[in-house]
Amino acid sequence: MIQLIEPYTEEKVRALQMGDIVHVSGMVYTGRDAVHKFLHEGGTPPVDLRNQIIYHCGPVVIKEKRKWVVKAAGPTTSIREEPYQAHLIERFGLRAVIGKGGMGPKTLEACAKFGCVYLHAIGGAAQVLAECVTEVPGVYLEQFGSPEAIWAFRVKEFPAVVTMDAHGNSLHAAVLEQSKEQLKQLI
């Protein structure tokens, strides 16, 4: 298991390999469908995303005693952001994208070109991942609705699997090919 601790550098990220289990500690910023479209179309990010990590997540966050408390924070399916992700990796120098289900060839290419990795968090592990959030310094673009806002999360030992590294390797491409071959045998 490899610790990926902020500051997230190109060097740290290029050292990761497909299949590695990592624990992320530092800031991550949630962003999903509305945010990706907004940023892709040239919107100004409300926070500095340079060398940061975007987390594909629509959390459940409730205000208790004037503080934000994360009630559930598992990943959303990343492939929906495939049209936008490569551009944002390039525009902001994102060091990692956390999500689930993987992303496509455009994103894989951007990861290799710009030094970024795709970290697959465990889908549905909303409570395990909520416990990794130690602080919610802020929330932005709330007009998109709570699940679609940018939530700033400080995380500690957030577990994920490197399924797309910065060297053109994708576990998703491999499993897809292999399962398609298996299907031919079965039908």
């Binding site: 459940v60 549905g124 592990a125 409570q127 699997v161 299907l183």
Partner: protein
């Protein structure tokens, strides 16, 4: 019906935070199948930890609390409008408490309603019966798994699938391959053979009301259900699509009559966080038993 709103709030809380026993047993067994040291095993270990944590904290198993689907079996003369009002109040309260995520978005304006209410949400399905008790079942079905459902029209040339159970088998296995891990595998399928495009999909979701250990009363369908699970697990997609032995935990197939011209196979993919619960309610407002 006294206490209906409070009972429905408790139903929502329990459905969101606690995996039903029949599902837990199968998820647990699936985890044991995965090889130590693999990413698939790692995923199942975290899933198991998550199930326990969600129950202890009374917080959502998964942050995508999904579509809110109520299935109600009610006596003749039952006031459905009153039930709907109580259900909506319970849903809004559950959202404020964080048992449900704010999940209802206007499809034209993009505005989130903030309380899970809006056209089509919650979704209510009523059936009458001649008894005196009220049976209320709830499924919370996340968007990730909803997105990997599929509806096939047979014959399908690409799959070489004809209008027979073998064609149905091919369509279902193809759907599992298309889904990969994106429905948060290992998953469970609800399938309907027949119906029209709308009734087919709805009946496929009603198959998800069955317990995982039940046996289809039609021997041909029972055999097909088992065969599909065995075959799907040979595809090697595994938990989260990481690769592994556990791709499908169950497959439940129902049948409706069809038009001569149509032969639909409607497949609803349910994720491992199979949130399904229900209760039997006697008048006045006492929960007689939980159904799962």
């Amino acid at each position: 019906m006294r206490n209906l709103r409070a009972n429905l709030l408790e139903l929502i809380r329990r459905t969101s935070a606690e995996l039903p026993d029949d599902v837990f047993r199968v998820v647990d067994r699936g985890g044991a199948e995965e090889q130590a040291g693999t990413a698939g095993k790692y995923a199942m270990d975290i899933i198991t930890k998550n199930i326990d944590l969600a129950k202890r904290k009374s917080q959502p198993l998964c942050q995508d609390t999904g579509s809110i689907l109520f299935f109600v079996k009610a006596p003749v003369g039952f006031d459905q409008m009153a039930f709907e009002a109580a259900a909506k109040a319970a849903v809004a309260e559950a959202t404020a408490k964080g048992y449900l995520r704010q999940n209802s978005v206007d499809s034209v304006t993009g505005k989130n309603s903030g309380n899970n209410l809006g056209p089509g949400s919650p979704s209510l399905h009523f059936h009458q019966h001649r008894g005196t008790q009220l049976e209320v079942r709830l499924i919370l079905k996340g968007g990730g798994c909803e997105n990997v459902g599929a509806q096939y029209s047979l014959p399908d040339t690409r799959l070489g699938a004809n209008r027979d159970l073998d064609g149905v088998r091919k369509a279902i296995l193809d759907a599992v391959v298309q889904a990969q891990g994106r429905g948060c595998s290992p998953g469970i399928l609800g399938v309907c053979i027949g119906g029209d495009r709308a009734t087919g999909y709805l009946f496929s979701k009603e198959q998800l009301l069955r317990t995982l250990q039940d046996v289809n009363p039609d021997p041909a369908l029972a055999a097909l259900e088992q065969e599909i699970v065995a075959s799907a697990n040979r595809l090697g997609i595994g938990p989260m699509g990481f690769g592994g032995k556990t791709t499908l935990l169950g497959c439940k197939i129902g049948v409706l009559n069809r038009l001569p011209a149509s032969f639909f196979v409607s497949i609803s993919y349910m994720c491992w966080a199979y949130r399904r619960q229900g209760f039997l309610l006697a008048d006045p407002g006492k929960i007689v038993k939980w159904l799962y």
